[in-house]
Symmetry: C2
Subunit: 310 residues, 2 copies
């Protein structure tokens, strides 16, 4: 079945999941962009439509364009692609806006070309979009966007992505307070050194989290969602963080932390009801402080980017 057009859902993702700083990410199921990718005879990639956000449409300045070009370079395909993007994830929100576009584009192209590339290769192409967006070709958002569920970036040289399953009743609540946290600031603020003791705690927790995800042990997942290294520092840049976190835990969340480098805050819960209660508690904090916000409640997305049948 040789198709010339595909309509895909490009999921938002949470990276830097507490103890999984810089390695662990997860894909969301009901938060994401829409994208249509169309084959054409002429070589190259054109962003023919970009709705929802003000972002560059020039191919070399657009993350979907750059990721797509990385794929085309390794492909035998003689033609090119037109891309329409319906951007719903806000840039700079901390839930993988650029990763959604980069991953969606390369996944869609791979489908239209009848899957010449592995998922790992698609991640490598999508990382070029991340390089454009942030200066660093990181994989912790594009990997879950392409593989689905949770993923661990075990190593970059060589790139080693470990897919990790998600318990069936795991839900994420994400609140995006409409403040600007410059990525450069949230990087600068990090310490270069940590104590060995802090490190041991962190890898103990990460081991517990991975084991909890494999065994569907929600209590263990909750106990392991700790971060004594990055969260205490970065949370200073997010007004209301401590209240949001304590409110979420009080409402029954398993754990709560900073999504990506912020300012979005995520919480995981067992079941949609609890996730909704967590959302209500989070909203209340920013209503009281007087900061605008978006809130999302989503099941974990087990497949990543997917085709939307229209």
């Amino acid at each position: 079945m040789n198709r010339s057009e595909i309509n895909v859902f490009c999921p938002a993702t949470i990276a830097n999941i507490s103890c999984g700083f810089d390695v662990l990410g997860v894909a969301l199921d009901s938060v994401g962009d829409g994208m249509v990718v169309r084959k054409r005879a002429e070589k190259g990639i054109t962003i023919v439509k970009l709705e929802g956000q003000k972002l560059p449409m020039e191919t070399a300045l657009n993350v979907a364009g750059v990721a797509g070009l990385a794929l085309l370079e390794k492909s035998d395909y003689e033609g090119g692609f037109d891309i329409e993007i319906n951007k719903k994830i806000k840039a700079g929100s901390g839930i993988g806006s650029s990763a959604a576009s980069a991953s969606g584009a390369v996944w869609a192209m791979n489908e239209l070309l009848e899957r010449p590339f592995t998922k790992l290769e698609l991640v490598e192409f999508a990382m070029e979009g991340e390089r454009l967006a942030s200066g660093v070709a990181h994989a912790d958002n594009v990997a879950p966007a392409i593989f689905g569920s949770f993923t661990l970036v075990r190593s970059y040289a060589p790139l080693d992505i470990v897919p990790i399953p998600s318990p069936s009743e795991l839900y994420a609540t994400v609140i995006h307070p409409q403040i600007e946290v410059k990525t450069s600031d949230s990087r600068k603020i990090l310490k270069t050194n940590i104590t060995l003791k802090e490190g041991i705690k962190q890898w103990g927790n990460l081991g517990g989290l991975v084991a909890g995800l494999f065994t569907q042990d929600y209590a263990l997942i909750g106990r392991s969602l700790e971060d004594h290294i990055v969260e205490p520092i970065r949370s200073i840049l997010i007004p209301g963080f401590d209240q949001v976190k304590s409110g979420a835990m009080h409402a029954g969340a398993l754990g709560c932390g900073i999504s990506g480098s912020g300012p979005s805050i995520f919480a995981f819960s067992k079941g949609q009801d609890t996730a909704n209660k967590v959302a209500a508690s989070m909203k209340k904090v920013y209503r009281n402080i007087g900061i605008e916000y978006d809130v999302h409640v989503s099941k974990i997305n087990s497949q990543g980017v997917r085709e939307m049948r229209t």
Copy 2:
């Protein structure tokens, strides 16, 4: 069936498994001590026989005695126990000699009392034996000795032990070069601080290792068995370490590192044949250097301390 005597196998254990420094341990199947525990009317614990090693027999100075007393203190049992120990694991070898005695004693007593205590409680009692042996009540050897297979010590306060399964064809090879490495030296030599970058690598690898153990992915286990933090420093105290490791890897091992705080060196392999080849390569190194050694090849022990039917 109210028994008055039990004969148990007390397994050797490997702690500080590469990226799992201070949190990950594993139990061995064919390396360990023998122990007979017998109920008696009189309160207290007596080490009535101790063969194989020169170790204190006074209850308060013997790890099995001290661990047993910790159990008795929490028990309704009005009587006491006599213990016979056949010590085969050399003290100071780095494969959990004290942990084997402490774990075996409390496990055996719990059986004779018809299991009033959970495995987690048994670990807590056995940790008192470790406190006597090394000054620190660490759990990374006693936890796998009692739970079997791999265990992760996620946290000490409260104590949180996470059991992790072992792939069916995983074998360990351990070589014990007969040199003395003082635990105090191997502790002093550690750095107090590490870089955040090193930390990220380490928890990425630990996540990969735990995932590999759950999915029986031997290649992933192998790729994850890295330690850039402790091994480069502590290995300086073990003559021949680099040759042993490169020889083991050349012979087909999945990974190789320091067992506990040394001087024993462990390697994991898929299948017994490879584990035997690894053993041969390790022996060769110490034969050439002229250091006496013991070598063990063992399947991973999935149940921990167990009854030996005589």
